[in-house]
């Protein structure tokens, strides 16, 4: 009878690697697909492929680089079959975005950290609006009604806040890079 399983790459390693690369893979897909729901959807599908191909992964190589190629093809495939919208970036642009995004992802953590500080600088009503919007994207109209405002007004306010936050994030990251 056999003893213990020999030690070699296992599901546990797979999950550890995928968990570690998860945020960057999502960030990679977002710039091609434009929104988080599609990026999550595609990453979910790509994860299945990555798991199936994991036997071919060379542990001495970088997992993200390896996995992102599957994510890239899954994104292309998703755009081809997605019936939800016809508005997609063409393959040439996708390729370009994918190539440039990989080195750009080095800045991602700094941006996320900067944004967390920027949000804290907002007043309560601003934070509330941001929270409501990102949790329930479809419900700007409902939110507007509750606050007794026109949906467009609220949406404009929200986008002004997003712009403000984006500027703040940029300021904080360039300051840090300079210091």
């Amino acid at each position: 009878m056999a003893e213990n399983a020999p030690d070699s790459p296992s599901s546990e390693q797979f999950i550890t690697l995928l968990n570690a690369a998860h945020g960057r893979l999502l960030g990679f897909l977002r710039v091609m697909l434009g929104n988080s729901a599609d990026a999550e959807d595609v990453l979910q599908r790509a994860s299945m492929t990555i798991w199936r191909k994991f036997g071919e992964f060379d542990p001495s190589k970088d997992f993200f680089t390896w996995a992102s190629s599957f994510a890239f093809y899954e994104a292309k495939n998703f755009q081809r079959v997605s019936a939800r919208s016809r508005l997609h970036f063409d393959d040439e642009l996708l390729q370009r975005l994918a190539e440039e995004r990989v080195p750009d992802l080095d800045q991602r953590e700094a941006r996320l950290a900067a944004m967390d500080r920027c949000i804290e600088e907002l007043d309560d009503s601003g934070r509330e609006l941001v929270r409501e919007f990102y949790l329930n994207k479809t419900e700007v109209a409902a939110l507007a009604e509750r606050q007794g405002r026109a949906p467009q007004t609220l949406y404009n306010k929200l986008n002004a806040l997003r712009r403000l936050l984006a500027d703040c994030m940029k300021r904080k990251t360039t300051q840090e890079a300079g210091s």
Binding site: A2, A5, P6, N35, E40, M115, I119, Y134, A141, N159
Partner: protein
């Protein structure tokens, strides 16, 4: 152009793209901009990171608030609060993000447990799973029922499998792939080892799974990264190495190494009956693809034939077979006696593949995805049934609609998966304030059922004073009717719920995350036999 104006316009295009409100003309402008300007691309990357940060912050914030409210957790749940809090955040965050990696991935996630006192999911220590492999494919599978019948794509714990006939493919979590031709008996031992009692086996072991070990009554085979075949059916069991190298360990004799193109008889240790590897004897593993496709096509044809009979049932009011043309925005009602019932209207959703190639399905993903159906009339008995593939359950969402009447009027029917993974059939019994008579099944959807096609059916019968739940054609549970409220489903939604058609306020999210490829509603409580046939 003024750089300030530039960046303002860019940001406007970025948000429109992210929110899905962008017009075709704007989209063209955005694409051109991103192609031309490296600076615009950098801004676009930063914008997407900003969006990701805001989404993550909002989710954390929502969880923090939930936790703040959640002061009634019993002491046991609060023990070790620090680690369990992190665990809970990670669990809920992952689910909230809709990431279901499936297969092995859930294995290392913290397990959620239900706190029955206040219906909240509370964190526990990290869960472990005993699963070591999955059943990835199969044709004409007939398992020994007394031992167990694994479902396709289901994780497999260590233990015995007895295949009476057919060909099964098992993927070990460590990476090895094993094809088994019945009759065969195998005991899974770990993610990289199994014990084969009898049968024919063909293994593909990629380099990272080196060391994969198959034990047999005649000795152990340790694979060093190869393809090999093992035939234990013959009186003289044989090992054939098609590619690479294996070690053959047999009692009382020295370990032997076999390489590409060679084989060995295993009947007597050290007998040294050397063979030339014969791939033809293991052809079952090579034509598996073709056979899987053929058997799925056959199943699809059979489904189409059975449908003709089913659609003629005089009590069948609605049958949505989801076989509408590509891009269709409505689902036709195939029930022959449901002519007074209009087609279902699709809102959102993606068309995708169903149970077999050629079978079409709708994927429900976002909070807006739904199919609206009218079910006029009152039903003193009914059966509601669907083929669904659940992808995940949202930890922040109490219920996921399979089919729910719009609103909360007396007689409304709410058929849903609750956050524990149980099925609930609710009939609204009182309107102001509203009271629903809920019938709740045992848990159906554990993580190992995510991604699998499951047939669900519920019957309701006032005369028999009973509600029944069925899963894959088998009776799951029976419940005595609480009150003889006559159901009137009226306008209902598959995969979602609206409090009222003109409702504009905020309401709880009830959307279903997964696929559906068949839905039917009968004005009769089907018998257990009829439900079994429906699930075939």
């Amino acid at each position: 152009m003024n750089p300030e104006l530039n960046s303002q316009e860019w940001h406007r295009l970025f948000t429109a793209k992210a929110d899905g409100t962008i017009t075709p003309e704007e989209h063209e402008r955005l694409a051109a901009l991103l192609k031309e300007s490296a600076e615009a691309r950098r801004e676009w990357f930063a914008f997407q990171d900003a969006e990701a940060a805001l989404l993550a912050w909002s989710q954390r914030e929502a969880l923090r608030r939930d936790e703040g409210v959640d002061v009634t957790l019993p002491k046991t749940e609060l023990a070790g609060a620090h680690s369990s809090r992190n665990g809970w955040l990670r669990y809920a965050g992952t689910l909230a993000a809709g990431i279901v990696i499936g297969l092995a991935a859930w294995a290392l996630w913290p397990k959620a447990s239900l706190n029955s006192g206040n219906n909240r999911i509370a964190a526990r220590d990290e869960a472990t799973t005993s699963s070591v492999a999955m059943l990835s494919r199969g044709v004409n599978l007939e398992w020994d029922k007394s031992v167990g019948v694994p479902a396709l794509n289901a994780p497999l714990p260590p233990g015995l499998l007895r295949l009476k006939s057919g060909v099964a493919e098992i993927e070990f979590f460590q990476g090895a792939r094993l094809c088994i031709e019945g009759p065969a008996e195998i005991r899974l031992l770990s993610a990289g080892a199994a014990y084969c009692q009898y049968g024919k086996f063909s293994a593909h072991v990629p380099p990272p799974a080196r060391g994969f070990r198959l034990s047999t009554p005649k000795g152990d085979i340790v694979d060093l990264g190869t393809d090999f075949g093992l035939d234990l059916n013959d009186k003289s069991p044989e090992l054939h190495v098609f590619k690479g190298e294996v070690e053959l360990h047999q009692p009382k004799v020295e370990m032997r190494k076999l390489t590409t193109g060679t084989g060995a008889g295993l009947e007597n240790p050290g007998a040294n009956r050397m063979l030339v590897a014969n791939a033809a004897a293991f052809v079952f593993s090579h034509d598996l693809d073709a056979r899987v496709i053929a058997s799925r096509r056959e199943a699809f044809d059979q489904w189409q034939q059975l449908n003709e009979q089913r659609n003629a049932d005089p009590d069948l009011r609605v049958h949505l077979d989801f076989q509408d043309p590509d891009g269709a925005r409505s689902l036709h009602n195939a029930a022959l006696h449901g002519e007074d019932i209009a087609t279902g209207t699709i809102v959102g959703c993606n068309w995708t593949e169903g149970r077999w190639p050629g079978k079409r399905a709708l994927q429900f993903h976002s909070v807006s995805d739904r199919v609206r159906v009218k079910l006029p009339g009152e039903y003193r008995q009914f059966t509601i049934a669907a083929w669904v593939q659940l992808h995940s359950l949202n930890a922040r969402q109490d219920q996921s609609s399979i089919c729910m009447s719009q609103g909360l009027d007396v007689g409304d029917v709410h058929w849903q998966v609750i956050h524990t993974g149980a099925i609930c059939l609710g009939i609204v019994a009182e309107a102001h304030p509203h009271v629903t008579d809920d019938y709740i099944s045992p848990v159906v959807f554990t993580p190992d059922r995510f991604g699998q096609w499951v047939h669900l059916a519920a019957t309701f019968d006032i005369a028999a004073k009973e509600v029944r739940f069925y899963v894959n054609g088998e009776l799951l549970s029976r419940h005595t009717l609480k009150r003889p409220i006559v159901p009137k489903p009226a306008v209902a939604e598959l995969g979602n719920w609206l409090p009222a058609s003109d409702y504009a306020g905020s309401h709880p999210v009830r959307n279903f995350v997964g696929c559906m490829d068949d839905f039917s509603f009968y004005a009769r409580a089907l018998s257990a036999d009829e439900v079994r046939q429906l699930a075939q």
